[in-house]
Symmetry: C2
Subunit: 241 residues, 2 copies
């Protein structure tokens, strides 16, 4: 059996906790990881607070194969991710000369300030994650991948990261919908789950215009078992109509 890869994500963003901004990165990261055979096991949304960032990075980097962060790598006073991650690893933050040159060419005139230089300050020996939109890169240190918070930039960084990380077997999925409540099929669904222990079966109710419905999602790395479990669910749903 192939190694299973598990990941955590840290969304560094006081603006999400205050309700000002809706996160647009978790779902993107989740989708990219599924496609690479990596299980996203936990997401934390935390404030721009050095102590909390350090604790979260230290806790999660030891427990998961990969940790992805979004947010807090810009030039302003509230951008403290790079410094906090360096502290979590006990390494120095230093000017990366190639990033400095890159930013100097990108930020012209009044836009190249002492603050811009902050975006060239990276943990020593960090590997860069390119930023095709606004130059200032993300970075990789050991198993921690530090990316921007602005969604259009974050997504391009995650595209790059998804291409270079190592994943495991791809989890395949099937989905079956029906237009009655969960209670009617709960027992039979549990029996099918018991019969196929290596297929994960989830049941997701929805309500639309007062009508109940359920989406049943089956996930497995074993296509044969997945097909059999799907057929069992389809037969069961038909028997309830």
């Amino acid at each position: 059996m192939a190694k299973e890869y598990k990941a955590a994500m840290i969304v560094i963003g006081s603006e999400i906790l205050s309700g000002r901004t809706k996160d647009e990165n978790i779902n993107y990261v989740a989708g990219k990881l599924v496609a690479r055979g990596i299980e996203l096991s936990e997401v934390r949304v935390i404030p721009d607070d050095e102590g909390v960032i350090i604790d979260s990075v230290n806790d999660l980097k030891g427990r998961f194969d990969y940790v992805f962060t979004s947010g807090g790598i810009g030039p302003t006073h509230d951008d403290i991710t790079a410094l906090s991650v360096a502290k979590a690893f006990g390494v120095k933050l230093e000017i990366n000369q190639s990033v400095y040159e890159l930013l100097k060419n990108e930020y012209i005139g009044g836009d190249f300030t002492q603050a811009s230089v902050k975006m060239a300050m990276l943990p020593e020996n960090a590997e860069l994650i390119p930023n095709p939109l606004s130059a200032a890169p993300g970075f990789i240190i050991e198993n921690v991948y530090v990316m921007a918070g602005v969604p259009i930039i974050m997504h391009r960084m995650m595209d790059y990261v998804a291409d270079i990380i190592i994943g495991g077997d791809i989890v395949l999925s099937r989905s079956v919908s029906c237009s009655f409540g969960e209670s009617r099929i709960a027992k039979e669904l549990a029996d099918i789950q018991d019969a196929f222990p290596n297929v994960d079966i989830g049941s997701y109710p929805h309500f639309k215009d007062g009508e109940k419905g359920v989406g049943i999602v089956l996930r497995s790395i074993n296509e044969n078992d997945l097909n059999k479990a799907e057929q069992s669910v389809l037969d069961m749903v038909k028997s309830k109509l």
Copy 2:
């Protein structure tokens, strides 16, 4: 000075970690808490896994005034939130007779099954959170508020909860936009932050059609300081045009 209230949220949802579903509850809870003078300090998205739910509830209920959960309170085999929360508190799960009667009246014929009864199984002495849409209630045990995952139901439960919980001073906010990059104002913004320590100043860049812009958000419970800090930011932004 009034007591400050801090909260955490636990999103219980394998479907969000797998990328199948986009969370629609974090932002709603965040907005409701801000309006009640409660700071949302951390959000965790975790799988439908008993051990992880128990650990998360136990960790967060001790560290925050309130813990809000969403997801996993339906009738199917993957709905394990009520049982896990009961275990976290070391209390029994038992049939709540009034909920049983409620569900029996709501779920008619083939829809009232052994599985429906599961939704009447609550931790002993739990207080109910009404569900105006599909009857099965959420519940409160000590400082933990357990709610549905389906957004339209979750939001109605959160409306109820927001009305009954105790909050602190309301955090007021102001926002100033400008259409240039963060680097140009970063130093001055840091100086304003230093001058107003009880105002939280956040800087949120955005990129649209290749153009840079920044949203500067000021937050404080002190309206007088907030107004002064806002004026400083406005003056500073004008000086940079």
